[in-house]
């Protein structure tokens, strides 16, 4: 219990002063939420929203590391730009596919479109 107590003391001292790890933890939570949406929502559009959350989480990581790297380089921000570009492309394609699925199966509920099973 002593180790847990010392951990708590350290943690509570660390918590108010925002540093790199704070951003990373926010990003981790956002990432987990996105995965949850991808894995559980029945509506395909909600799945796409989950994907956007995951991508945003990744972007936070990129930019945070870029900001807190010792030489303050901008490579992380450039990477984030490319992620945003990809997200735009992905959203367009994803929605096109969803529309097609809707057209074909008359539903956008992913669990009903389970022809992969056959």
């Amino acid at each position: 219990m002593g180790s847990l107590g010392s951990f708590w003391n350290e943690f509570s001292a660390w918590l108010p002063h925002v540093q790199l790890a704070h951003f990373l933890i926010v990003s981790a939570i956002l990432f987990a939420l996105g995965i949850y949406a991808i894995a559980t929502r029945r509506n395909a559009i909600m799945v796409l929203m989950g994907v956007e959350l995951v991508l945003n989480a990744a972007n936070i990581n990129f930019i945070a590391f870029s900001r807190y790297s010792t030489d303050m380089n901008f490579d992380g921000q450039v990477a984030a730009i490319f992620v945003i570009i990809l997200a735009a492309a992905e959203a367009a394609i994803g929605l096109a596919i969803v529309l097609n699925i809707y057209h074909r199966f008359q539903t956008v509920n992913v669990d009903e479109v389970s022809s992969l099973k056959e």
């Binding site: 925002v18 939570i29 956002l30 395909a44 972007n59």
Partner: protein, 168 residues
């Protein structure tokens, strides 16, 4: 706690809470609008990280583009007037457990690895737009060009895929 920390906590809370609404809300319209707040929160975090250009881009593209696209998708695939806009979940309990493990692992990892890393000494470029533009045109010019091709292909592909076939 300084102002910076307070602002961070405010926006971090906004981001996570609205993200929770996106994920857990039964109503798809609520989820979509909640996603708007998530994107704003993330944009604010970008500002705190001195990424002003990306913050603006985030709002322009995510809020102005992707979110609108998603809303269009909602409208086109649900009969708005007659059917309620609710949507269920599947396998919620196992997913919750696994996702909790993921979040805990990632957060613990971040904390234990980078807890001592503070902001480096002030300095360096304060405005990012010019620097980013230069980098995109010099060291990242090939990925930049490839990205433009990818966007074009996505545009054509999306148009082809979503087109209604007259005979079917």
């Amino acid at each position: 706690m300084q102002l910076f920390d307070v602002v961070f906590y405010v926006f971090a809370l906004i981001t996570i809470l609205s993200g929770c609404v996106v994920v857990f809300s039964k109503n798809i319209i609520y989820a979509a609008f909640s996603l708007l707040f998530t994107f704003f929160g993330v944009a604010a975090l970008y500002v705190l990280l001195h990424a002003d250009f990306l913050a603006v881009t985030q709002i322009l593209i995510y809020v102005g583009g992707i979110l609108v696209l998603l809303l269009f998708g909602v409208m086109l695939t649900n009969n708005v007037i007659s059917v309620e806009m609710k949507t269920g979940t599947i396998q919620a309990i196992p997913a919750l457990i696994i996702v909790a493990i993921v979040a805990g692992t990632l957060a613990g990892l971040s904390y234990s690895t980078w807890k001592g890393v503070a902001v480096p000494a002030p300095g360096g470029p304060q405005t990012t737009t010019g620097t980013l533009g230069q980098m995109l045109m010099t060291s990242y010019v090939i990925p930049f060009e490839i990205a433009s091709v990818v966007l074009l292909v996505a545009l054509i592909g999306a148009a082809m895929t979503a087109r209604r076939h007259r005979n079917s």
